[in-house]
């Protein structure tokens, strides 16, 4: 079997600042194979975006890579020559679409000028203007954008358009892996549907091979992803196939998450009650000892309060769960 496209092992990334140390990502292990769409779900503040920023190779100034292994298509991105990282890995093998895509475009440059800059920076030489605009225009059409978008400044476009422009630019070189962080949070429902459809189209048109899709919106995860990983308090608590997780969640947190989503049966009636998980997400500066979910867990045992549960591989499929219940 060919090696994994993305391999993360015991990754640690902390924020260090005047506020102290925040344990954003504290020992995360994941694998992603080519052709696979992996979803990453969890509450706000659990560390999903932190993980995405670490995978992207350019973490923000306060975030520090503290240890662990990240291999993107065989490249160890934190122990390699930054120049090779810039030319070979970024955009070609892996591309990152950040969370607030609206802010990701330079406000004083037209889209087409920004595009020319991107191409010039990546290829090292000045390309022909018509060729770039034509290629980009065709590419953006696949995402549902007209070519007039290129002539405008970012502030003249709507939020959904800007998001799709950013996705378009990130996928220009057909990266194998697209890491996309909460693309639907800032959009209305119609735009969300359009966005999900665009992402599926990208996969179908073989522009991207695999995707790491980060969201807290379980419904979009369900439509897009084959596998899913649930994250809580800087650690992965469960991974598995999407349908498995939805129909048979093993970890108490996953169970809480699934049951807190509104679901309707075909007749339009609400199915089941709306339950929420009691308590609050812990402060990542001071995570609870032992299993991090134990203060909110209905099944907490004594061992959960003191020792961290190991990763247990469940019966069939690529199921993993971190819970003492399944030992």
């Amino acid at each position: 079997m060919v090696g994994h496209l993305l391999e993360i092992e015991e990754l640690k990334g902390y924020y260090r600042g005047t506020f102290g140390v925040v344990f954003g990502v504290d020992g995360v292990s994941l694998t992603l194979d080519s052709g696979e769409m992996l979803g990453l779900a969890g509450e706000s503040g659990c560390g999903k975006s932190t993980l995405a920023e670490l995978v992207s190779g350019s973490p923000p100034p306060l975030l520090h890579y503290e240890g662990g292994k990240i291999l993107v298509d065989g490249f160890d991105i934190y122990h390699m020559d930054p120049e090779v990282l810039r030319t070979e890995v970024k955009c070609k093998r892996m591309s990152y679409v950040p969370q607030a895509s609206m802010e990701s475009l330079n406000p004083v440059k037209r889209i087409r000028d920004f595009l020319m800059d991107v191409v010039k920076e990546r290829t090292g030489k000045k390309p022909s203007r018509e060729k770039v605009l034509k290629t980009a225009g065709d590419h953006l059409k696949k995402l549902g954008l007209e070519s007039w978008v290129l002539d405008h400044y970012p502030f003249e476009l709507s939020g959904g358009m800007k998001q799709r422009v950013v996705i378009g630019i990130s996928t220009l070189w057909n990266p194998k892996l697209l890491v996309i962080d909460e693309p639907t949070s800032a959009l209305d429902v119609t735009s969300q549907k359009r966005m999900i459809k665009s992402l599926l189209d990208l996969k179908q048109a073989k522009i991207i091979e695999s995707m790491l899709y980060i969201s807290h919106d379980l419904s979009s995860l369900r439509q897009l992803c084959d596998r899913c990983a649930i994250m809580y308090c800087g650690k992965i608590v469960e991974t598995g196939d999407m349908d498995d997780i939805i129909n048979n969640p093993l970890h108490p947190y996953t169970q809480g998450l699934i049951s807190s989503v509104v679901s309707y049966d075909p007749k339009g009636r609400k199915k089941g009650g709306l339950e929420s998980i009691p308590g609050e997400h812990p402060d990542l500066r001071n995570p609870p000892p032992g299993c991090r979910f134990h203060p909110r867990c209905p099944y907490a045992m004594n061992i959960c309060k003191t020792k961290e549960p190991p990763v247990i591989k469940a019966e069939k499929g690529r199921r993993e769960v971190s819970c003492w219940l399944h030992k």
Binding site: G57, S58, V108, D117, V118, E121, R122, Y153
Partner: protein, 359 residues
């Protein structure tokens, strides 16, 4: 080109121009024109009314008191004559109308005999225009050069980071806090008198040959120009550097710079993006700096004996040269308003959000 295309060429041109300067930009310019016209009007009215409200009448300062040779009746007669001559006997509103008429015909009156710098009856406008180029020669280069160099230093300090950046920050803050007149005095003390490198006063050396337009004279004036220029330049350089450094550091954290990094931009190109966005708010700062600079140039001119408007204004104030004070203040206001207007329009042009407007 077929003949019929010539007919639609001007329309194409017009369409082009219209697309380039869309409606919102024209509206922006129009709003600024109206605003500055109002400011000018307010300033003129202010200049007119304030001195006339005060009980001290400049004529009284000019004519000798009735002691010794003159009797009170003769004194009154002389006083009335001068009042009529300078138009100060008419009711206030009439004076106001005359004031405006004079300004619009560019007749600012004549200088009082009290002045030590400008002799009577030299016309005020002529005198001011003779002094104005010297002030502009200080103000414009200081503003432009400190802007360019200061912003470059600030951006570079933000880019490099580390100990050198902290040092640069410290120095720029310190130099910005220096009172420019004191810096001028210190420079005079160290470089002019102790080291003898620069001249101490005036704009040109005293010589036998009268000044003429040749290289020699030019270099001499430049030599005299250095210290006043430096006293202002250093202070403003610090100001720009401090501001730009903060702006660039702020922009470096923003979404589009990080996204450019993630797309694989070289660091220098990402920084260029940050700088380009950071310099936009600095343009609005130029207005405030220009207004402050005019004032500080006034002080510097007095210390160095540089013959600019500031020197003229102070001399007029000291000698109660009434028309000259009014004239100087008006000209300074015109320069300030014109400069502010130009900068505002330039900024509107440079920032695409204003140039294009929101659709």
């Amino acid at each position: 080109m077929p003949k019929w295309e010539y007919a639609i060429m001007p329309r194409k041109l017009f369409a082009h121009l219209r697309r380039f300067f869309t409606n919102s930009f024209v509206k922006f310019v129009a709003k600024k024109v109206v605003f500055y016209a109002i400011v000018m009007f307010v300033a003129m009215t202010f200049v007119f009314f304030i001195p006339r409200i005060v009980p001290v009448n400049p004529i009284d300062l000019m004519i000798p008191r009735p002691s010794g040779g003159i009797s009170p009746e003769q004194y009154a007669e002389i006083r009335n004559y001068y009042m009529r001559f300078f138009g100060l006997d008419k009711p206030l509103f009439d004076q106001y109308i005359i004031f405006w008429r004079q300004i619009l015909t560019l007749d600012l009156g004549r200088s009082f005999p009290t002045s030590s710098v400008v002799s009577w009856p030299r016309p005020v406008l002529g005198a001011i225009l003779g002094f104005l180029p010297f002030t502009l020669a200080l103000v414009i280069p200081v503003l432009l050069l400190s802007f360019i160099l200061g912003n470059w230093i600030g951006a570079r300090a933000a880019y490099v980071g580390g100990k050198r950046s902290e040092l640069a920050y410290f120095f720029s803050v310190f130099s910005n806090r220096l009172p420019c007149f004191w810096l001028g005095m210190v420079l005079l003390f160290l470089l002019a008198t102790r080291a003898g490198l620069f001249p101490t006063v005036g704009w040109i050396s005293l010589r036998v040959k009268p000044p003429s337009l040749d290289l020699d004279t030019f270099l001499d004036v430049l030599w005299h120009y250095c210290l006043p220029f430096l006293s202002l330049f250093i202070v403003y350089l610090g100001g720009w550097a401090t501001g730009m450094r903060s702006m660039v550091i702020y922009e470096m954290d923003s979404g589009y710079v990080r996204y450019s990094d993630q797309l694989g931009f070289r660091k220098s190109k990402s920084m260029a993006y940050a700088k380009r966005n950071a310099i936009l708010p600095q343009f609005t700062g130029i207005n405030l700096y220009l207004n402050a600079l005019i004032g500080e140039t006034t002080i510097i001119e007095n210390i160095f004996g540089w013959p600019g408007i500031g020197r003229l204004l102070v001399d007029s104030v000291m000698t109660s040269n009434f028309p000259m004070i009014t004239g100087c203040f008006l000209v300074i206001m015109v320069v300030v308003i014109f400069g502010n207007f130009l900068i505002d329009i330039l900024y509107g042009f440079v920032d695409p959000r204003i140039r294009i407007g929101r659709r």
